[in-house]
Symmetry: none
Subunit: 78 residues, 5 copies
């Protein structure tokens, strides 16, 4: 009697894939936010302070979405 | 009686896929940030110093999301 | 009694998929960085040297994310 | 008693999927690089030589990421 | 007693999925290259010849990545 069941030798938690997907968008978003800030400062350097305040607000809101990707693993019981 | 169940001979950790996904966004983001800096320096070379400071802030925030993609594997017990 | 379950004859390491995903972003990022450099040099050829320095910094930061995609396979024990 | 479970007769190496993913970014990246070069030459035809040098540097760095996608299959023992 | 469990009758090689993915990028890349050429010729029609030379170089480099996606199936022993 021969009964060999090789299912798949993939180890690890699928939660890493979840975070990976969750991180794609925020990172591109942060890039656009900072990129546009640099563009704005290059055009009107005297507004640099105000533009940077907006930049940090933008970074905070976009990065939060990636960090929630870590939290969901614990919410859904990874 | 012959019962051979060969499901898939794929080896490796799913965490590599997680990191792979997590690296897509940051790399595009860093590309946008550096690209906009180059554009800004080409327009106003005298602001190169201030634009590079913003560039490094942008790189730090975006690359962090990729490095967290390595950390998640250990958080979720890969 | 015959019980043969051939699910999928797929061989290989999932780490190749991980690298494949990790390479999407950097390549687009490098393309944006070099593209903007070409745009900048076309506009202000006298700044070519300084723009190329920024270009190589950008390439280094973005390509690093792809190369880490190879390293992760060994980190997570592929 | 007959119990045949034929789930999916998919053959091949997962490395082809890895390369497929790895080729998405470089092709878009090369497209951006060559596109910006064409834009630059259309604006300042006298700089065509210098822009093409940058173009080939950009193509080299971006295509390399796709070719590494073939190499990884052998690195990870596909 | 007859117990036949046919879950999904998917046949074929995973290499087609690999090529499918490999074709996403080149198609977008060629689109960018040809699009920028049309833009450039529209701006400076007298440069049409030189821009088309660059266009064909760009198409060659980007389409090559898709064709390699067919070759990989044989390299990895599909």
């Amino acid at each position: 009697m021969e009964s060999t069941t090789v299912l798949a030798e993939i180890t690890g938690s699928i939660a890493t894939v979840g975070y990976g997907l969750a991180a794609i968008g925020p990172a591109i978003g942060v890039g656009i936010v900072v990129g546009k800030t640099i563009e704005g400062v290059a055009r009107q350097p005297e507004l640099a302070g105000r533009l940077q305040v907006l930049m940090y607000i933008g970074i905070a809101f976009t990065e939060a979405l990636a960090f929630i990707g870590i939290a969901t693993a614990f919410i859904f019981g990874a």
